[in-house]
Symmetry: C2
Amino acid sequence: MPELIQPVKAQSVKEPIKEQPVKTKKQVVSEFRQAEIITAARKVFAEKGYIAATVDEIAALAALAKGTIYVYFESKEQIYNAVLENDLDTLRDLTLENIASAQTAREKIAAYVNTRFKYCEERRDFFRIMHIEPSGSPVLSKARARGWLVEPVRQLTSAIENAIAEKQIGHWPAETLAWTVVDLTSGALQRRLSATPTTTARQDADFLIKFINAALSSTAS
Amino acid sequence: MPELIQPVKAQSVKEPIKEQPVKTKKQVVSEFRQAEIITAARKVFAEKGYIAATVDEIAALAALAKGTIYVYFESKEQIYNAVLENDLDTLRDLTLENIASAQTAREKIAAYVNTRFKYCEERRDFFRIMHIEPSGSPVLSKARARGWLVEPVRQLTSAIENAIAEKQIGHWPAETLAWTVVDLTSGALQRRLSATPTTTARQDADFLIKFINAALSSTAS
DNA sequence: TTGTTTATTGACTGCTCAGTCATTTTTGCA
DNA sequence: TGCAAAAATGACTGAGCAGTCAATAAACAA
């Protein structure tokens, strides 16, 4: 009877002397399987949404029996969490890094837009889940998804506030403006995801950045 | 065994002489029940999404037995269609009217934003369904929802093109700009729907309009 | 190779839910 | 008031699906 392997579990008592930080073979295999399952699940969830996706379908796509899935995950919900947690963390870190390393408020905004567009191109299925998931899904409510945006928005807001103080841009309500950047970006991405786009991602991103910059130069009357 | 009453059905052969356009009592009652069911269904769908909503729940909220629901509608999907069709048509007509009666491109854009905000305040549940529904739902795919926007966007696009030709606004790609107005609006509305907003709808709408106008005055470099 | 442990399997269970239909209740007419 | 037609009902059916587990296969050690 195989147990669920915890990703970062302390070494068991059976092997008290061996290297602690090194993964056991068991763990390596386990992580490999989990990754396989997550990959399959990401595709299925992106296509069907959480509720309509079935574990049988995920298992079929991963070329595993359903029972095997439940060796590595406790529930459908946990699979879903694993799928998102991973990409969500990466995306947030990437976004924050890129915002941080940009200098001016304008550049930080551009960094936000560009990071999202780039990551969206790379991980279409992940973005599809993000932008498509209904409120009823137990895990990623729209509200919770927004939570992941709070930190980037905070960064943008304070950069905008500084820029206003230094008269680099017009006098706008900073936080609302930051959320507007977010809305603009996800709107454009959503549009790219739902139809086959006639423009390149670069073109779309550049347009947005230009558009925002144009507005920034003016002042809220 | 009561039959499904078709909303706009030609008079049956039984009553060949009577007034054709006047509704029979049967029809009036039927429409009343349908409206009751639609109202209940709108609330449930808005809360749960199409898949998670159950017909039993809709019936309970409408204070009817499930069987009664199926006297007036053929399927869960048909209920869903009826819920949306209704509001979707109204919203589109309202939007187009208001755009048409505005003069300049700027005013037309403001008309679009204001109409959406106003209707959203009035019909929260409807907007919740619109903005929340997953791709897997059989009826309102994001793509199809976007279809309802095509006509308004067309109107805005041509207004923008004219305004550019007459140098009232900067030189922007007209259709992309129109879609941007749409994105901005639905983004802001979605934000209002998912958290209790700290600002009034008027404030949000005014901000958007000012923001767009500020950008319009410039030119895409 | 054989025996033991570990991983995999898929048939099975219990539950939820859309849709049905025989029965009961209401309506409206004589 | 009594009676027939229409409307409403809710117990029931069948399908689909998350999660289980006894049986089987693979991996590995001696």
